[in-house]
Amino acid sequence: MSELWRPAAEWELQTMVSKLAREKRGIEIVGHGALRNTGRVAKSDVVLTTAGLKGVTLYEPTELVMSARAGTPLYEIEAVLAARGQMLAFEPVDLGPATGAPGGALSIGGVFATNFSGSRRILAGSARDNLLGVRAVNGRGELFKSGGRVMKNVTGIDLARGLTGSWGTLAIMTEVTFKVAPLPQTMQTLAFAGLPDDLAIEAMNVAMATPLEISGAVHLPRNCAARMRTPKIKGLDKSLTLLRLETFAAAIDERREKLKAALKVYGAPIELDSEETFSLWSEFRALSVMPFSAETSLWRISSLPTKAAEIVFAIQKFMDAVAFYDWAGGLIWLEVPAAADAGAADVRRAVAVRGGHATLIRAEPQVRSSVDVFEPLKPEIERLTRGIKSAFDPNGLLNRGRMYANF
């Protein structure tokens, strides 16, 4: 067990990192531990937690902006927002439960460091899209800021968004500023039962091409649909294609009828009201259809909607995989039987020829250490990636090996 360092303030974190940088000691960065079972295992001498950096530091509901220290738990932020009828529009996913880590432990820093966005991303953009500014400490122990608290800001190179998805390998975010959005006044879901994957993806993309502002488009093949718990749609023993609408109350019925008309050829959908819709989509926020199990590994695949079903079928030729599609087919969650390489060779081959990339989310630590967790980079991109890593963290101290084996 490495030593645990727990700064209580930004200046203290910077002091600690400066000291560790001078001593060239490797640092693993954690929040409250929600992501410890995800990604590669960092090589480090000390563990530094941002858990002590807590609290909302700015909230202007009428300007749709909030700032919070990086270690603030996501649920605290969402509670503060909900009290004013607002939310994080990108519906962040808490991977904790699906990876055997504690649920509700995800920090706001972790949300932006991983950039894992939920179903509403197709309407509201990703975590990265909603980020406005950061304060962070790099591997040299330098405190820097980028972006700010205003929506439009093109002053200088956009390091704030550049840090998203870097898993703490470039800098430790100490404070983040992000866009918030009003909670939808009302929501409804249309659930089409029994569509095969390719037809379901076609239907979802027909819906996405309408101006009806679809805020969720998920398809669950039959075996995965069987894991849903929302009463009206559970136990149907059929695939489920779910489309969420949200707007103000006086407009939603009109939109629902228009959507039904646009999708008439795909059958008559089951209709879920606002409350049912809320409970249904919260299943995806906790990824409860891909529950933790030592028997299986979990992949997250970014694809073109038109290629998604093909990718899943291609993988299923080689293994017993259970998948579901989010973002109208732009994202695949795929569960495969546990294996020495978590099926990496077959998964990556299936993805490579069809475009996209795959990230191994859940597997035994030794598997995550031996196979590429993130899609391997093309040589010229790897050169830039290493350059960026070395610009921020020349001695390779921050989360070393967390994303890629060699840096």
Binding site: G85, G156, L159, L304, L331
Partner: protein, 490 residues
């Protein structure tokens, strides 16, 4: 005389020009090159016209491979390169230097592929912003960012500046609407950054590229998101007796959970000029005018505009006028979008582009009036109220000695004010040469050093779009070709 310093051209490079031209001809052919002075003069400035420098050579490549050959040649011969699209930058982002090659992408303006099912288009970077929408509108889609110069400005320029527009409150700016780029690095290497999928692999290099003002590479192609066109859209105009009332009304609309697609603010001076120019039907007896636009079906638009009118009523408006038909809507927007041109007809002006937190609007406007009065100048204010992006137009007479200097000084004071109020120097126009020296008001030396190191990763010898974005003094060593100073400095 304008006072922004431009580095002395490298006489050695200019002396070598005949040899360089021969070398480049053998690689890309002479028909892509503009050599004569009159031809080159067309590239001496952009929309920041106070500064002009005739480049020693202009090249108009037609393909990514040609861009690669040109950059590789320039790199091997240690020549500076200034990338250029349509030359509409308001901050000198594509201002050449006399010892640089201008690499103009205007011939690369094709739509390569439109994929309606996945709602993406792949286009060349020289295409104009509006041309993308023109291509896909027939199928019910559009490309969302809509800078006022969208008829002329190129997508490559939009990517360089991370351009916004009036409708970004709902649809975001360029960085939210571009999924991937093909880019050529200074050494000629062609890289694909991002891709057609929503999510990117590895570090988000695309975020670093978008808004980097041509500092990292030359973007030659991009994959952009296509957005379904709304069923309809309609603006309304609300005129107020004070900026405070207008600002409070914007806050109340958002607090009510309504996110209009655009909220534009004009002050009295701007209203008068735009109305005289466009005949948009703007009320002339108000101190502040909001143009609020909502989208949706006819029924939805009616309900939303009704609710906004109810909210506005709490702030004692002088005028509330909902557009009655598409012609009127078009006129309302034509007036707003023509604002810069309209003001340009009556006066020279400097267009500032700071962003402020909305709550600071009344205070900011009072201070801006004071600042301009102190410099004996007039000002008209246009404001993207939904996102805090403020465009004070500082009016001056270029023929009157000293006025241009006073205008620059007033502009600088306004931008300092924006930063002081919690905002930033530029919301959508970019830093260029114009705001380069002000970067230190918003950023610490460390903040800037961290950004400059990113530049060094992509362009180790600092030959791309030189002497822009970062304060001149801070970049002297790197521009002299000693990039080690960014990687070592702590």
């Amino acid at each position: 005389m304008p006072h922004i310093e431009l580095p002395e051209p490298d006489a050695g490079v200019i002396r070598r020009l005949p040899i360089l031209i021969e070398g480049l001809k053998s690689r890309v052919g002479h028909n892509l090159m503009i050599l004569d002075e009159d031809g080159r003069r067309a590239y001496e400035t952009d929309a920041f016209t106070a500064y002009r420098r005739i480049p020693m050579l202009v090249v108009l490549p037609r393909t990514t491979e040609e861009v690669s050959k040109i950059l590789k040649y320039a790199h091997e011969n240690d020549i500076k390169v200034v990338p250029r699209g349509a030359g509409t930058s308001l901050c000198g982002g594509s201002l050449p230097t006399e010892d640089a090659i201008v690499l103009c992408l205007s011939k690369m303006n094709r739509v390569i592929e439109v994929d309606y099912t996945n709602r993406i288009a792949r286009v060349e970077a020289g295409i104009t912003n509006l041309q993308i929408t023109a291509e896909v509108a027939k199928n019910g889609f559009f490309y969302a960012p809509d800078p006022s110069s969208q008829l002329a400005c190129s997508l490559g320029g939009n990517i360089a500046m991370n351009s916004g527009g009036a409708h970004c409150l709902k649809y975001g700016v360029t960085t939210h609407n571009v999924l991937g780029v093909k880019m050529v690095l200074i050494d000629g290497t062609i890289v694909e950054i991002g891709g057609p999928t929503l999510e990117r692999n590895g570090y988000d290099l695309l975020s670093l590229v978008i808004g980097s003002e041509g500092q990292l590479g030359v973007v030659t192609e991009a994959t952009v998101k296509l957005v379904p066109s709304p069923e309809g859209a309609r603006p309304m105009m609300i005129g107020f007796r004070s900026p405070e009332a207008a600002g409070s009304c914007v806050a109340a609309i958002i607090a009510a959970g309504i996110i209009p697609v655009a909220i534009e603010y004009m002050d009295h001076a701007a209203i008068e000029v735009c109305e005289a120019f466009a005949g948009a039907g703007y009320p002339l007896d108000v101190e502040a005018l909001l143009i609020v636009e909502v989208e949706g079906s006819e029924g939805e638009i009616g309900i939303l505009l009704g609710r906004i009118a109810e909210i506005a009523a709490r702030f004692d408006p002088k005028t509330v006028k909902i557009s009655s038909d598409p012609n009127q809507s078009a006129r309302i927007w034509a007036g707003r979008k023509a604002a810069f041109g309209a003001i340009g007809r009556i006066s020279d002006y400097l267009c500032m582009d700071g962003t402020i937190p909305l709550a600071q609007l009344p205070h900011a406007l009072t201070r801006i009036s004071q600042i301009c009065a102190e410099h004996d100048l007039k000002v008209a204010n246009i404001f993207h109220a939904g996102d805090g992006n403020l465009h004070p137009l500082v009016l001056y007479d270029a023929n009157s000695p000293g006025e241009a200097d006073r205008a620059e000084a007033a502009g600088e004071a306004i931008l300092r004010l924006c930063v002081e109020l919690g905002g930033c120097l530029t919301g959508e126009h970019g830093v260029g040469i114009e705001k380069r020296e002000l970067m230190t008001t918003q950023f610490s030396p460390t903040d800037l050093m961290v950004q400059m190191r990113v530049k060094t990763v992509f362009d180790p010898t600092w030959r791309l779009n030189p002497a822009k974005v970062f304060p001149l003094e801070a970049t002297g060593v790197m521009r002299a070709g000693n990039a080690a100073s960014t990687s070592e400095a702590a």
